[in-house]
Symmetry: C2
Subunit: 282 residues, 2 copies
Amino acid sequence: MTSNNQALEINALKQIQVPSGKKVKLSDYPTDDFQLDGHRLDKEKTQEAHTALEEQLADWQEKLYAEGKQSLLIVLQARDAGGKDSTVGRVMDAFDPNGVNVVNFKQPTEPELAHDFLWRVHQQTPRRGMIAVFNRSHYEDVLVTRVHGLIDAQKTEQNLQHIVNFEQLLADSGTKIVKIYLHLSPAEQKERLLDRLNDPSKHWKFNPGDLKDRELWHEYTAAYEDAMTSSRDHAPWHVVPADHKWLRDHLISLILLRAFEEMNPSFPKAAFKASHYEIPEV
Amino acid sequence: MTSNNQALEINALKQIQVPSGKKVKLSDYPTDDFQLDGHRLDKEKTQEAHTALEEQLADWQEKLYAEGKQSLLIVLQARDAGGKDSTVGRVMDAFDPNGVNVVNFKQPTEPELAHDFLWRVHQQTPRRGMIAVFNRSHYEDVLVTRVHGLIDAQKTEQNLQHIVNFEQLLADSGTKIVKIYLHLSPAEQKERLLDRLNDPSKHWKFNPGDLKDRELWHEYTAAYEDAMTSSRDHAPWHVVPADHKWLRDHLISLILLRAFEEMNPSFPKAAFKASHYEIPEV
């Protein structure tokens, strides 16, 4: 059961949800704050409530799986060092991994490039009863390709329309879509990149290309703002403050809790009478 | 670092590891016990040590991923209610889900049946740096098909030889294979099946076919014993006592710890000088 406090927090999610079809300004959204009744969300209380929240999510997932009629697609996007990988880890902590696929979209391969940009994505959508987490997604095709000049404005617009249509197909077929942008400040990104440079055990995470992308900060901002016009009630974008991991994780858990409430899956009625069966002796 | 006590426990794993190429008798292996220096493993101490063990596994996984040269394949097999799903959940708790694929092999589809039985399996083997967990596996093709008379003894023998060759290919290509049979007593299976029948929230897990398979208990035993002749040093079978979840989880964690030690992955040396880079201002 959702607690009263959770209901209040869920209601407050509207401050980070992008209105359907509207153009947003990312600078209007905080990277390190979430307001509840005029107060900042409290770190200690939030962390205390985390275990209960995880158990609720686990219960919902079991019902989603048992029911086998709907599915949940979580789309994660962020700048470099935005926390996508660690978010996947935390989100997954709540779930039974048998019911989740994490999909890491990397550079498309030759056969993938030989098809339309949604071809490889469509193959990874969650089957009924399942959750899919897209770590990067079809949105890269209106973000990185656009910022690096591989596609022009017209093609970007066209791709975005195809994305909207594609997500409508999924939604009409029983897939709930939740889109999350991890909203990081330039200062926090700098800290994290420096950390990768200065800690030898993190060197393998450092990619000099990330510095080039940082130089294109404002171009990415513009591309994200355009991409988020794909927000719909059945597939909303959320601008999640991502400078603090505890806040990020809590808000994402709340977003998922709300998504499950809206789907409202339930255990199927048994098609048998338990008393009809006897366990054979061995 | 592996502790002294862990080293002792790892050494004791030989009592549940199937010798290379040998025919085993499952009744020689306990379903509820593991001996260390002549004593049963203690539940409380084992659970206390669990967090540290999970952290070690997480550290090893990060190195495996960062190194990107080797991969780990965990094959899970068990009778119905043997605990495969919950094992996957517990094993995964230690790992970053971005580095693991859980593959649930179900009834083969028409296109899968139109190929050899290893075709769909080969597609799911772990890429370098990754872990794959097979929840059921290619072994079903020498187990369920054999017990239900879909293939004869000769075909079973042939399939088993193909499996040995296939696993050799993977091992020669940098994949460490760990095969785990969750060894359940008939009494414990009965408890678990009754639980599914009597608890309405577990009805969806109950499959009347499981009772038919229970009647074939001894036929499955014979099939498993033959399948385990595929044990090799690079792809050993383990008969893990599975009546108690704490014992099962601990032994599997130890088996994985040993596998990582044998692979011994390490962070790659940086191909750059950190001091060459400056973080651009935004």
